[in-house]
């Protein structure tokens, strides 16, 4: 076991760093509250630095330190998810056995909890610690949880996992365990559009947002676009390879202004002149946030986002359900409400299915209405 107590040896300097670094979550008011709970009243006119410095010099026990750390953490860290589709039916028993051997071999700082939610759903929660040396020392180690779900369907099994490197690593380990238990490599399908042309990549997104089962597109609020590699200037490597001969050329090239990606925020973005101009210049979509309305009761509007971890390569599809605008007597709530994990789990399969279907159709160049020679 790692020495847990090491984490709680915090000097005043370190506490100051934590208090001062998360400006948004540990606000002046939060600092004043913290002091007030100890019966100390500081002036509300004191600067943040003074408040943080004063509080950091007070004695802190385990609980108060925990409170500070808890405050500095983002409570609704919306982690995007991703999925791997295994084209084989895998029995819950097999998954259970693989997870068991995985949890036995897990490193000491990881804790694996697995349970079967229903005959066709299996959930594995891995608690692990994450290190980020760029953070201030007290925040370098954070406890995280990777929630990995196996959804068993007729001919396939979907593994849904948080889109982060650690969860991917765990999923890869579990997948190789499954491969070993089946004594064959199970064909795995991920959403990967690296083989598609830039126009097709944009089509992937536009078809995804407009053809989701049970939902109808309402609005597009964020779009990130990137220039296609064909329209880009030659890569930097060439310049380096040819050394001095190319130096002049390199200098002129670095002086040219180049826009490589653009993030647009607004309303009805896809009909904006700005987006269309970028599109005509060869930019393609790499991530998108949109709203869609349910076509059945209760006709709520759901906000989604989808994108790629490696936008240029089109690899690592990840997505999220950001929240819900409730339909109240024909009008929608102004603010977005968070969705419960169970509710999200109901919506994720729709994105996954649509993405797979759209991708398959694009690969086949089959009868997708948006395709064809009509585009200018």
């Amino acid at each position: 076991m790692p020495n847990e107590t090491l984490r709680y040896y915090a000097t005043d300097k370190e506490i100051f760093d934590v208090l001062a670094s998360s400006r948004q979550r540990v606000s002046e008011t939060a600092l004043l509250d913290m002091a007030r709970s100890r019966g100390i009243f500081y002036s509300p006119r004191d600067s943040r630095d003074t408040l943080a410095s004063n509080i950091s010099l007070l004695p802190h026990d385990h609980d108060s330190l925990k409170e500070i750390l808890g405050k500095s953490e983002n409570p609704n860290r919306a982690e995007k998810v991703t999925s791997i589709t295994l084209n084989a039916k895998i029995s819950p028993e097999t998954i259970k056995a693989v997870v068991k051997s995985f949890s036995e071999n897990a490193p000491s700082d990881e804790k694996v909890v697995a349970q079967s939610e229903s005959p066709d759903k299996y959930r594995v929660q891995v608690k692990y610690t994450e290190l980020d040396y760029a953070k201030t020392r007290l925040l370098q180690r954070r406890n995280r949880e990777a929630d990995i779900r196996f959804i068993i369907e007729d001919n396939k099994t979907t593994i849904r996992l948080p889109a982060n490197p650690k969860a991917r690593e765990i999923a890869a380990l579990l997948k190789s365990g499954l491969d070993a238990s089946q004594k064959t490599e199970i064909p795995a399908e991920t959403i990967d559009i690296s083989d598609l042309s830039t126009d097709e990549r944009t089509l992937f997104f536009t078809n995804l947002i407009s053809t989701m089962d049970g939902y109808e597109l309402r609005d597009v609020m964020n779009v990130k676009v990137q220039i296609g590699s064909a329209s880009k200037s030659p890569p930097l490597e060439d310049e380096e390879k040819n050394g001095e001969e190319q130096e002049d050329a390199a200098i002129t090239q670095t002086m040219l202004s180049v826009v490589e990606d653009v993030a647009l925020h607004g309303k009805a973005l896809l009909v904006s002149a700005e987006y269309q101009l970028l599109k005509d210049k060869g930019f393609f979509i790499t991530s998108i946030t949109w709203k869609a309305q349910q076509t059945k009761s209760p006709f709520n509007i759901v906000e989604y986002d989808a994108g790629f971890e490696e936008p240029e390569e089109g690899r690592g599809f990840r997505y999220n359900v950001r929240g819900l605008y409730r339909n109240r007597d024909g009008e929608f709530t102004k603010t977005m409400q968070a969705l419960s994990a169970a509710h999200k789990e109901e919506i994720f399969p729709i994105i996954e299915r649509t993405a797979l279907r759209v991708l398959e159709a694009l690969r086949k160049k089959a009868d997708i209405p948006q395709q064809g020679g009509e585009q200018q």
Binding site: A268, S272, Q276, G330, Q375
Partner: protein, 228 residues
């Protein structure tokens, strides 16, 4: 009173093709939304976009019981699309046109551009006056962002029994301001009638005047300069 609003758009496909696509998404009894197309020409489409909105209304009775009613509402947007500027015209548009715009962009393969207008109202009035061939008086107007001094602006509404354009000149004296809306008075069939123009490319007028003035209003709308 009818509200009319115009937009500029860039059609990626021919209007006849678009009309065919719209007809393949008709509004029916069982659909949630769809188009009802009235007239189609090479350079013109006229129709309605209908949205059926269903929701449940909960009512609490005086005895504390809850009653739930299923309600249905229809929201209609009457539109005309033109191949030339102004490309899109809405008649009495509902507050939210999101659904219509997303449907339209889908039908246009996501290559459609719609740009809201910012209109120089004095220019619009001048060209409307020469088109309608009648004397037009601006009897009231509203301006905003009139710079009184550095970092101080005013919102002013000016009205009078005569044309207020001269008064506007005197009040603003070359300072910056945004002309937001104007109210026009003009003689029409021996009656003095009024109509309102708004700088977002919108107009408000009595239903009875629609037929006589709509074409002139549309035609006199200043074409936005490139890059605007």
């Amino acid at each position: 009173m009818k509200r009319i609003r115009w937009f500029a758009a860039k059609w990626p496909i021919a209007l006849r093709t678009l009309a065919t696509k719209m007809k393949s998404h008709p509004f029916r009894e069982d659909s949630l939304n769809g188009f009802i197309i009235e007239r189609v020409r090479d350079n013109f489409i006229n129709g309605r976009y209908v949205e059926k909105i269903s929701y449940q209304e909960t009512l609490t009775t005086p005895f504390g019981d809850q009653q739930i009613f299923d309600r249905t509402e229809y929201r209609q947007l009457e539109f005309s699309l033109f191949s030339n500027f102004p490309h899109m015209e809405f008649l009495d548009a509902p507050r939210s046109t999101q659904s219509y715009v997303s449907k339209l962009t889908e039908l246009n393969n996501f290559s459609l551009t719609i740009t809201p207008l910012t209109v120089d109202l004095l220019k619009w009035v001048a060209s409307f006056q020469s088109l309608a061939n009648t004397k037009v008086t601006i009897d009231s107007l509203q301006i905003s962002g009139l710079e009184l001094e550095t970092d101080v602006t005013a919102r002013v509404s000016i009205s009078g029994n005569k044309d207020v354009r001269e008064a506007l000149q005197r009040v603003t004296k070359g300072r910056r301001f945004d002309l937001e809306r104007v109210q026009l008075k003009l003689l029409h069939e021996n009656h003095i009638v009024g109509l309102q123009l708004i700088n977002t490319g919108a107009a408000k007028l009595e239903d009875s005047l629609l037929e006589d003035f709509l074409p002139a209003l549309r035609q006199s709308l200043p074409v936005p300069k490139l890059g605007e």
